[in-house]
């Protein structure tokens, strides 16, 4: 295979959607659960990201991080630092972070007005 000269084939151009200023809300239940998770320590942040994959094409990715190298918008929601990757901002604007308290399929949930569909488990969307 001719890869030695692959530099002569320029990278395909990625269409990068315009970054939007993310508006994000959190339900009381989600806020309570995050309070339990963070305690009094506000040095960490909640990273709300999107990965490719999942049954519907995109998957939510929630992490508690100290910092990240990913370029992010930083929001303050109910006293919590929330980081949203700039590359995913168009997919996450307007979302509501909820917490569903049940034994099976419980946990943090994202209600996303941008999603045209989502998979059964609610972890991925399109």
């Amino acid at each position: 295979m001719d890869c030695g000269t692959c530099e002569s084939a320029s990278p395909l151009q990625v269409h990068v959607p315009d970054e939007v200023e993310v508006d994000l809300t959190m339900t009381d239940k989600a806020r309570d659960m995050l309070t339990d998770a963070f305690g009094d320590d506000r040095s960490h942040a909640l990273l709300v990201g999107v990965l490719s994959g999942g049954c519907s094409g995109y998957m939510y990715d929630l992490q508690i991080v100290e910092s990240t190298e990913t370029p992010c918008q930083e929001l303050n929601i109910n006293g919590f630092r929330v980081l949203v990757p700039r590359a995913s901002s168009h997919l996450l604007n307007g979302i509501e972070i909820d917490y569903v308290d049940r034994l099976m399929g419980g946990g943090f949930k994202i209600n996303n007005p941008n999603a045209s569909s989502s998979c059964g488990c609610g972890e991925s969307f399109a």
């Binding site: 395909l12 990625v14 269409h15 999942g54 049954c55 990757p85 059964g120 991925s124 399109a126």
Partner: protein, 217 residues
Amino acid sequence: MGLHHVDGYVLLLQGENILPFLDGLSSNLVNGPCTTVFTDRAAKIIDACDVLVIGENVALVGYGDEKDRLTRHLLDHLLGQNIQIRDISSLNKIYIGDGEEDYPPGATVHEGWFGTVCILGNSIDFEPTWTEEDWREHRIQNAIPFAKHEVTSRHHPFACGLAELVHSSKGCYLGQEVLTRMRSRGKFGHRLAVKENPVTGATTVGKAHSLSIERIQ
């Protein structure tokens, strides 16, 4: 034994976490060299590709007319990941065969699901040993579906004989819910068949037998 020249494309992916990225968008478990099927939300085929691991890079080799659609699909899902995609199709020629060939020096050889794939840079002279007809008869004898014939965007992988490329336990990917439901219910709608000629609506016509995608009653 033989090797046939096919019209296809080679996309070179460079960057980080390339295999997990491809795994999340296709039906087979992609954790190394393999063949996998990229599907849309309705589980219809975008394209079936061989995945070659070349050092830290990954090459995707496809055989259909869907290069632009697949490329757009991949780019749309990058979301800022450190992966670059280069189209190196024009630098290489793609051959496919039964794996019993002596390959010229410089060949990149991959044991794929459709056959043994050999990729040669344009500067390497090589005369294919199989004609289009040889390849067609080989496919019919071995019930191998292929791009532009059976493997098209009108079908899902089960309908065109690609069930072996649909991993049953790898987890979520685009189209997975539909395919898992089909498999669990045993309802596939259509299937690949090898039939004696004449065959109405054949997708690949051979001398004595043909391939077709038939409705399951």
